[in-house]
């Protein structure tokens, strides 16, 4: 497989176990996923699910106990130089507290072996030009986060890995970050791998998501499919409403929502709902699946044990 038709990022059955024998903890178990070029990929999971461990493995910070991490088709273990094409923000942007924001980026650029020419533009892009000369120890969490994003983009990487990039940002900052992530993929063809606990943000910016729970990926799909598959109720506008409610109530849970009914039926049960209403002589004016939010889906999935999903 050449570099061009390989996924940009691929995790093949990776696991991480800490400790040995009886005290061993399986932080990540058999995680496999792949991310294509130009995709914005969300990586979701509750605290302690294994998100950070997985991200550290794909950045070469920790070694997998088993499995392979491939970037641009190359095995990270045998060719760690491929990480030069990766920009990352891990743990909310930890920087040298005694250096200014600009100096930190200079250190980073020198460590990378390039990129210092982009420092001013990036500071401008993340809104830190006025504070670039201040020591990082005086920065707010949001400012560190923005500096972290600037650091991640310093070498104009092909893939950007962002671990909780909106932590500490205010509403305007979150909106800017959302625009930035979208433009990275849409306008500049970058691939973005993003973990976040702000599910609304993920729903708005990601093409695909994986949900990790107790160290295992329990669901991976496009956001749209995930929401569609998990649509578990129908909104029905019919007359007379009381007769419609009576026709459906024996089979599904029904509740009134203004001038409509909410019926706890899955999308696949839609024909049966329609048949019952028509059979009862009820006029049907509208029927639509009620989409869950990503948060609803996430909570439903992570409430299940791995393997149940």
């Amino acid at each position: 497989m050449s570099e061009f038709d390989a996924p940009v990022l691929e995790l093949a059955d990776i696991s991480k176990t800490y400790g040995r024998r009886a005290g061993a903890v399986n932080a990540v178990r058999g995680v496999s996923l792949s991310v294509g070029a130009g995709e914005v990929y969300g990586f979701l999971g509750p605290n302690g699910a294994g998100k950070s461990t997985t991200i550290r493995m794909l950045l070469g910070l920790i070694a997998p106990s088993a499995g392979i991490v491939r970037l641009f088709g190359r095995d990270l273990h045998t060719d760690p130089s491929v990480l030069r094409r990766v920009g990352s923000l891990v743990d909310g942007g930890n920087f040298y507290p005694f250096l200014s924001g600009r100096r930190n980026l200079e250190v980073l650029a020198k460590t990378h072996g390039g990129g210092s020419g982009r420092i001013d533009a990036l500071l401008d892009q993340v809104g830190l030009v006025g504070d670039a000369g201040r020591k990082v120890k005086g920065y707010s969490t949001g400012m560190r986060q923005r500096l972290g994003v600037a650091g991640a983009l310093l070498t104009d990487p092909d893939i950007v890995i962002l671990d909780e990039p909106v932590n500490g940002l205010d509403a305007a900052g979150i909106q800017e970050m959302r625009s930035l992530i979208r433009s990275l993929a849409a306008d500049r063809g970058k691939t973005v791998f993003l973990s976040s606990h702000l599910l609304n943000e993920v729903q708005q910016v990601c093409d695909r998501v994986a949900i990790i729970h107790k160290g295992e990926v329990v669901r991976e799909s496009t956001v749209a499919d995930l929401l569609r598959q998990d649509a578990r109720s129908l909104r029905i506008e019919a007359a007379p409403l009381a007769a419609a409610e009576a026709a459906l109530a024996g089979r599904w849970a029904v509740e009134r929502s203004g001038e409509a009914l909410l019926v706890a039926a899955a999308r696949a049960e839609t024909p049966e709902v329609v048949k019952r209403l028509v059979g009862a002589g009820i006029d049907l004016f509208g029927l639509a699946p009620v989409h869950s939010s990503l948060e609803d889906v996430f909570l439903a999935i992570t409430a299940e044990e791995p393997g149940d999903a």
Binding site: R56, L59, N94, Y96, V107, L108, H112, T155
Partner: protein
């Protein structure tokens, strides 16, 4: 590699505590020199009576080079090295740089910068020590013996600097390995302190304990670096080998043997530092 070294230099020349451990020697010695001059001027009776001959004056002038091999000097070296190598764990900044450079390059850059800055600190310290002694003699009226030549003084400084290299490298090797192993500046410093102190105490007292385990004590004495560091320094500065008075017979290693044993320990510890860091999980 030059970029990585430059990045390290930016960090540690702007970190006050680390930078202070480089400048502690020239600044501290300048301050002590000024105090000595002031005391000498105010109370000529307590002023140093000075050396009667040129060789003695030169030996006094380059005495600072003994500091890197002594307890205090090795503690300061250890503190600096602990900051350089373990600081990244405390600031949680390995995550920032490890993905972008080979781990071995990052560690190599730290060794280069640590040794270069320590070298600068000690050279400046030696110069200040020398100048302060001269100024004190001139200002307090102590006689400077005739026959002092710049070439002889420079050669004495050169020998002192060469003698300081072995303890400098060995302390750096101990503490850098401890820093990577423990991921803690304080732990690295403490381990460095105990190991260097233990090494010096063993060198001093091992002959006393020889009767309890004759073969073992003598073998350890010959294999561990404590004796050999001092032997190298002594041979470089005075041309004499260190005689260790064991009951079973005086032990004295040739210069080349001492050099090889110290080199072995330094290479082993530095190699272990690289090996450990390459395999370490950065959580």
């Amino acid at each position: 590699m030059l970029d990585a070294i430059s990045a390290e230099a930016i960090k540690f020349t702007r970190h006050r505590a680390t930078w202070g451990l480089v400048w502690i020697w020239p600044i501290g010695l300048a301050a002590i020199g000024l105090v000595a001059i002031a005391v000498g001027l105010l109370n000529p009776a307590v002023a140093d009576s000075g050396q009667a001959n040129a060789a003695g004056w030169i030996a006094d002038a380059v005495a600072f080079w003994r500091v890197p091999g002594q307890g205090l000097g090795r503690c300061v070296i250890g503190a600096f090295v602990a900051m350089v190598f373990a600081g990244e764990y405390g600031w949680n900044t390995w995550k920032l740089i490890v993905p972008h450079r080979a781990r071995s390059t990052l560690i190599a850059a730290k060794y280069v910068v640590a040794l270069a800055l320590l070298g600068c600190g000690f050279v400046l310290g030696a110069m200040v020590f020398n100048l302060a002694g001269w100024a004190e003699d001139v200002l307090t009226g102590d006689p400077i013996p005739p026959g002092i030549e710049l070439g002889a003084l420079a050669a004495a400084h050169g020998r002192g600097a060469l003698a300081a290299i072995a303890p400098l490298l060995l302390t750096t090797a101990y503490v850098s390995f401890a820093a990577i192993l423990t991921r803690s500046t304080v732990a690295a410093l403490m381990i460095g302190f105990f190991v260097t102190t233990g090494e010096q105490l063993f060198r001093l007292f091992a002959p006393l304990f020889e009767p309890y385990a004759p073969g073992l004590i003598r073998a350890l004495y010959q294999a561990l670096p404590g004796y050999h560091v001092v032997n190298i320094g002594g041979w470089i500065t005075t041309g004499e080998l260190l005689q260790a008075p064991f009951a079973s017979g005086v032990y004295s290693a040739p210069f080349a043997v001492s050099l090889a044993i110290v080199a072995f320990w330094v290479v082993l510890l530095v190699g272990l530092t690289f090996w450990r860091f390459r395999r370490q999980d950065i959580n």
